[in-house]
């Protein structure tokens, strides 16, 4: 029985693929939409202080948490890895740790 509230997702090119937890299309497209706008904002924040490459980011908001990080190298076999939780707020630092470990 999949966990309906938590998804570990990998992005390969233009596809988001569920790796663990909820891998429904609804979860994947919600992640894709939210992560896209979040990373665009993160990019602009970084650019404003001369750091134009985002390595990753996580955010806790009402009833949810989202996080992503880009692959460090080709060895990792994905372009980005993400987490979407819809059951509440989690510590963003722990989200980033989970993204490192997978």
């Amino acid at each position: 029985m999949p966990n309906e509230k938590l998804s570990l997702i990998e992005v390969h090119g233009d596809r988001a693929v569920g790796i663990r937890g909820d891998s429904s299309e609804k979860a994947l497209s919600l992640f894709a939409r939210d992560a896209e706008s979040f990373q665009t904002r993160a990019y602009l924040i970084g650019s404003s202080i001369g750091m134009s490459a985002v390595t990753g980011a996580a955010a806790a908001y009402d009833e949810g948490t989202i996080g992503f990080r880009f692959a460090n190298s080709s060895n990792e076999g994905f372009d980005a890895r993400g987490i979407l939780a819809t059951d509440g707020q989690y510590d963003p630092i722990s989200v980033m740790s989970c993204l490192e470990l997978g």
């Binding site: 938590l6 233009d14 596809r15 693929v17 994947l28 692959a71 963003p92």
Partner: protein
């Protein structure tokens, strides 16, 4: 409502926190307006940073969500962000490994100042830690070709969440002088794919998920543009270091560093790693003047390759 004396005292506490805890900087904002900043950035950069964080907070607020905490990682440092309405606090730190310590200090600050500043006292406590233990694996339908089966069973076509070029983003957001006044739907459309036309965006909204059944469109993996970007970056870094070493020696040093990172000989780094990788190479140079010169040129090379 906090008065100016309370603000002054809170700022004093933040200054102390920065001094003691070796933060690389902090920015404290009240109702979208800069209250206090201590950082290595210029005033202009600080103002721009405040504007962009306000826009991030507005992005969530316009979607009927309230951003509470966030961590942002960049190639040159990290930011821990607390949106404790009507304030927000950004803490800058260099080493990812110190994030927990920075967080503890922020929580100490909030537990002491929540009441005087009139903010939610929950900012003085930790959020639950996320764990993936026990989270079910998505099982491939067949053992013979797990990757393709997995992709077919659980894949959604998305706008890739790779940083778009700064030019594309700036162009898309050119009219957005104040994100707070923009409806959430517009923001979402803009930030989903800054270079797309309206019709492309609406088409995507209608069919937000999944390729057509049976279609197996090739993925744009890191093997394409990323490989080319890396090759170009590597070549220019080799050129840079050939000013102080032989070209062959510069190439060998790059190979050695890659090997130390566990990167295969035909592998490459993602652009977010260009700056730290270059800095590691520059760190090998002993002479301070030469090092400084190389650092300056390295930043130019990195900036030319990021978002290209």
């Amino acid at each position: 409502m906090a008065d100016s004396q309370t603000f002054d005292a809170a700022i004093k506490a933040l200054k102390m926190m920065r001094k003691v805890r070796r933060l690389s900087g902090l920015i404290f904002v009240n109702e979208g307006v800069l209250l206090h900043a201590e950082s290595k950035f210029t005033e202009e950069q600080e103002a721009s940073f405040v504007r962009e964080v306000n826009a991030l907070i507005a992005l969530y607020r316009n979607s009927d969500k309230q951003l509470s905490r966030s961590i942002l990682g960049f190639d040159g440092g990290n930011v821990l962000l607390y949106n404790c309405v009507p304030f927000w606090l950004a803490l800058f730190f260099d080493d990812k490994a110190t994030a927990e310590t920075v967080q503890r200090n922020a929580q100490d600050f909030f537990s002491k100042w929540a009441d005087p500043l009139g903010i939610d006292p929950s900012f003085g406590t930790s959020l639950p830690k996320l764990s993936l233990d026990g989270l079910s694996e998505v099982e491939p339908a067949s053992n013979e070709s797990p990757t393709s089966e997995l992709a077919e069973s659980a894949a959604a076509t998305t706008a890739p969440i790779r940083p778009a070029s700064s030019a594309a983003i700036q162009a898309a957001l050119a009219d957005q002088s104040d994100a707070e006044s923009i409806p959430a739907s517009d923001l979402a459309a803009e930030s989903r794919a800054p270079s797309q036309t309206e019709s492309e965006v609406s088409a995507q909204e209608e069919t937000p998920t999944g390729p057509a059944p049976g279609s197996d469109q090739p993925t744009r993996s890191m093997d394409g543009n990323a490989q080319e970007t890396w090759n170009s970056f590597r070549s220019q870094v080799e050129g840079l270091f050939s000013k102080v070493l032989g070209r062959a020696q510069a190439s060998r040093i790059i190979d050695r560093e890659l090997k130390a990172l566990g990167i295969a000989s035909d592998g490459f780094l993602n652009e977010s790693q260009f700056r730290p990788f270059g800095q590691k190479l520059v760190g090998r140079v002993k002479d301070r003047m030469t090092k400084k010169q190389l650092e300056t040129e390295l930043v130019d090379i990195v900036n030319r390759h990021i978002g290209s």
